[in-house]
Subunit: 228 residues, 2 copies
Amino acid sequence: MIELKDVHRTYGEGHAAVHALRGVSLSVPPGQFVAVMGPSGSGKSTLLHLLGALDWPTRGEVVLDGKNVARMDDNALTRLRRERIGFIFQFFNLLPTLNAVENVCLPALLGGKSLASVETRARQLLGRVGLGDRAHHRPSQLSGGEQQRVAIARALVTDPPILLADEPTGNLDSRSGAEVLTLLRQACDERKVAIVMVTHDAGAARRADRRVDIKDGLILNDQSQVPE
Amino acid sequence: MIELKDVHRTYGEGHAAVHALRGVSLSVPPGQFVAVMGPSGSGKSTLLHLLGALDWPTRGEVVLDGKNVARMDDNALTRLRRERIGFIFQFFNLLPTLNAVENVCLPALLGGKSLASVETRARQLLGRVGLGDRAHHRPSQLSGGEQQRVAIARALVTDPPILLADEPTGNLDSRSGAEVLTLLRQACDERKVAIVMVTHDAGAARRADRRVDIKDGLILNDQSQVPE
Ligand SMILES: Nc1ncnc2c1ncn2[C@@H]1O[C@H](COP(=O)(O)OP(=O)(O)OP(=O)(O)O)[C@@H](O)[C@H]1O
Ligand SMILES: Nc1ncnc2c1ncn2[C@@H]1O[C@H](COP(=O)(O)OP(=O)(O)OP(=O)(O)O)[C@@H](O)[C@H]1O
Ligand SMILES: [Mg+2]
Ligand SMILES: [Mg+2]
């Protein structure tokens, strides 16, 4: 379902070049929950952005739903991202002028749905991440972890078959974090969503079906595990 | 050295009012390292902003260096913040147009020092947080955890007697996080810095001399401990 084939990503040129990924291959089928761990700066966010077609490899291929991303035109790529992928960013990328409910509804609205048809689900998801009474707050009126939870609800609103999560519990206490992981686990088990979650939290990683360790732009280790 | 006296902080009004802090008292002497833990949304960042005179209580007093913050004029308050307090923000607040070294130098430059006199120390601090080879990158060219480490180096550059750290290891792997905690522990033990660190990481909290638990805007628990 989602695949990286010997992917390289270099930033800059010459002696200042940073080789963020140096030949990474990864294949994730539907219904599999993968945790990616590794040191700060090792290439995890870069990997996730390539998987989400938000960035392009310097070498190698990215294949989503059987299609080589490099051969798709802008419109097709935009539709693919919108309909098939939910992305939880490391720093959320919420729109500051919209409140929590509006931010959560946004992917569906961009996909052509009406506010009326999606608002109920958006409020439900906010309730599930404990933000029922913060629905009308804008990001600047929310705590760090509350903003993170809005970003999580937003990624789930269109119920996409692929979820890419960049440190989704980084600003959460252990209980809110556990609730988020339960939501992700449910998406995977009940609806066969393919999930790639970057995390620095070993406890969060133990909830996955598979653990990948990355260091200096290379995969060191990739193994199945029994999820906790 | 730093004190909150029955502090309240309410956002908004009427039935939409959020009582972020509902009567918090805390007194931290020089050379004490306090860890503050609590659920997402419980008032921790609010508490830290009040301690740093970046916000004002709705009720109660904030006392820094023996002075009631409410009775200080703007200039005196600005000097106090600049000379006495290092603040590590939950989302860093780096200047996007400056590179890592320039961001780290900024507090000293604003305090009247020349770039030449502070640049050596800035580069040293960046080296200590593992960013020696990222000194010339701007924030958009840094990973999440690298940006966080620039923010940490910046808070230390003027060697202030008070350090306020909002989830300083939230985007760091365990090894980078341990290095940061060592730096903080050193400031406290060797230079009698008073530190208040908000964290969701119980391991980080165990490095402190005292642990405060906050929930729904109130302190539940405040006790000394032997630092790990
Ligand atoms: N400008 C505002 N208007 C209304 N409510 C606000 C505003 N800013 C913060 N809040 C609310 O105040 C409460 C406390 O916020 P605070 O940022 O102190 O939480 P926190 O403990 O730091 O949480 P986290 O662990 O998620 O960072 C939150 O529930 C938040 O929704
Ligand atoms: N635009 C850029 N120009 C140059 N180097 C960059 C750029 N963006 C990222 N980098 C570098 O690429 C490396 C990988 O970055 P990436 O964001 O993928 O790391 P990460 O594993 O997500 O780290 P973290 O855990 O800190 O979030 C980092 O060392 C970073 O400095
Ligand atoms: Mg990252
Ligand atoms: Mg906070």
